[in-house]
């Protein structure tokens, strides 16, 4: 099937499950490991990532296909995408601060972090490589963000429970056991592969 004909919803669900950006591509690892210590911050960062990736995916689609391609400047995509993501995060920060102080306090420190989150950048690069349409890119951005948020929430949930109930050998405490858990979650996600698949 031609890639342009895939229904956006399929892309959305595939991005969450079988093509989960964190569990299959291992992108956005640093903040994933650092923030997954407690559920509340994970939820905050997860929501922020969903928000930013949903918005920057179509924005960068426009920059790539309407600005860079017509001038034959595809090689500038990395710089252009990073600038767009950085500027966009700034604007979102301003809006959130204005609209909801509570949300700003929960997301506050995470928003600037997202500028350097490779999951967002990876998501933008994938939609260019896979030649998604504009609508598909929105679905993919939303799906990739949701998938990332799901993964960090799963890990945070497991980590907080393990802290109370299980004993980890000292050598594996912290990032060590977190990476092993991530591997197990990733394997569990392979179970979704019968449902949807995109390449």
């Amino acid at each position: 099937m031609d890639i342009q004909n895939i229904h956006p919803l399929v892309i959305f669900f595939a991005a969450i499950t079988t093509n989960n950006i964190l569990l299959t591509n291992f992108l956005g690892m640093c903040s994933y490991l650092a923030v997954s210590k407690d559920l509340k911050s994970s939820l905050g960062l997860g929501v922020a990532v969903i928000f930013v990736s949903t918005c920057t995916a179509p924005l960068n689609w426009l920059v790539y296909y309407k600005l860079l391609v017509p001038f034959g400047l595809e090689y500038l995509q990395y710089i252009a995408f990073i600038i767009v993501i950085a500027a966009f995060t700034q604007i979102i920060e301003m809006i959130i601060e204005r609209v909801s102080t509570v949300l700003y306090l929960t997301l506050g420190i995470f928003l600037p972090l997202i500028t350097v989150n490779c999951a967002i950048f990876g998501c933008v690069l994938f939609l260019v490589i896979r030649q998604y349409t504009f609508i598909q890119s929105i679905a993919y951005g939303m799906g990739a963000g949701t998938g990332w948020a799901l993964a960090i929430l799963a890990l945070a949930g497991i980590r907080t429970r393990m802290e109370k109930k299980s004993k980890v050998i000292p050598e594996l405490e912290g990032p060590g056991i977190a990476l092993i858990i991530t591997g197990v979650i990733a394997m569990a996600f392979i179970g979704f592969s019968g449902i949807v698949k995109i390449n």
Binding site: F71, I83, V84, M94, I95, L105
Partner: protein, 363 residues
């Protein structure tokens, strides 16, 4: 190549404009009213920056050690209304008691709407003064007295013993405005002017400016008054000990006692110097001594074997020889850290509780 540059420029330019628009739309909080100490001072200003910066733009200076980076916790102030929720960047600096009473870190709190705050009374009198040097007097070979005239119609309200920050203008290799604290030597009743005593510090940025570049008639910026070194309201006998330019706040305190008619407290001022050439204001203090029976002035010279009429020896020894039990005496010390530490040791050794020793360390 040229198109690449143009496209990137257009992209960044477009985003910059977008950011500026977003800032003026979303980060624009319009005019806000700020109420200090229940209506004692009110002003309208643009919202959007931190409370600390907003207040300092109105010449209300809260103490701040780190300059607003949220790492020292000294710029606390009480917010009665309109502060919004407590921020995570503030919590490490506030204890439970402070959280309950509405104390906030003013450098972290953003002014977004009308706000009501409470600050210590003294802070309201801290102002920036544009002054003109009225008189420069050479007191000794390395100490000068400066008298600054305030602008027409302006007055300063301070407690005797407090200090002000003197700003030097750029000179020679010093490219930036610098400021140093100097004790005020004039009496609070003399509120149309400020007198400071400055001792020359070799290579000192501001003292070099004062000694080499400042002339009568020059314009100078001062900010003040600051500090918690002032006469406490008790009935105890007082002993003042000072060295060098540490005489300044003590002079202000004694002059203030005269102005306020405090006669029930015995006060003795020990002034420590090396030799006769380091003494100044002796006539004035001798005259006060003659006029006011409660005051006594005892200069002491540590290394002068000429036939002078003053006490001889280290200031700590001279003070110690004059008292037996100092349990009910209050001490006001001003001078170098070495002198103050030595005096504190001597005074506590004579039975004076630490809570009755007040000092201003010059370092």
């Amino acid at each position: 190549m040229l198109t690449a540059i143009l496209v990137i420029c257009a992209l960044t330019g477009g985003l910059t404009i977008l950011l500026l628009i977003a800032e003026s739309v979303f980060a624009n909080y319009g005019e806000v009213n700020i109420d200090v100490n229940k209506g004692e001072k009110t002003f309208k200003t643009r919202g959007g920056s931190s409370l600390l910066r907003t207040l300092s733009s109105q010449k209300l200076f809260l103490p701040s050690g780190c300059g607003g980076r949220g790492s020292c916790g000294t710029c606390k102030c009480k917010v009665l209304e309109g502060g919004g929720p407590l921020l995570p960047t503030e919590t490490p600096y506030l204890n439970d008691e402070e959280r309950k009473t509405g104390i906030r870190l003013s450098c972290q709190l953003k002014v977004k709407n009308d706000i009501k705050i409470e600050v210590p009374e003294e802070l309201l009198s801290i102002k920036e003064f544009e002054t003109v040097i009225e008189k420069i007097t050479d007191y000794t070979h390395d100490i000068k007295g400066l008298r600054f005239k305030l602008a027409e119609g302006e007055t300063i309200k301070f407690r005797a013993g407090q200090f002000a920050n003197l700003f030097s203008k750029p000179y020679d290799d010093v490219k930036e405005e610098t400021s140093r604290a100097y004790s005020i030597s004039s009496a609070p009743s003399d509120n149309r002017a400020i007198e400071l005593v400055v001792r020359y510090v070799p290579n000192g940025m501001v003292t070099t400016y004062v000694f080499k570049h400042l002339h009568e008639g020059d314009r100078v910026k001062l900010i003040g008054p600051f500090g918690d070194f002032f006469l406490r309201d008790t009935d105890r006998e007082i002993v003042c000990i000072a060295g060098g330019s540490g005489l300044a706040p003590i002079r202000s305190i004694i002059l203030d006692m005269i102005d306020r008619g405090i006669t029930n407290r015995k006060a003795t001022f020990f002034f420590g110097a090396v030799s006769t050439r380091d003494l100044y204001y002796v006539e004035e203090f001798k005259a006060i001594e003659k006029q006011h029976p409660w005051f006594k002035f005892i200069p002491a010279l540590s290394r002068d074997d000429s036939g002078h009429p003053y006490a001889r020896g280290l200031i700590t020894n001279v003070v110690a020889d004059n008292y037996n039990d100092m349990k009910n005496i209050e001490a006001y010390l001003c001078g170098s850290p070495g002198m103050i530490d030595a005096c504190e040791k001597m005074l506590t050794g004579k039975g004076m509780p630490k809570t009755q020793i007040f000092y201003d360390k010059f370092s």
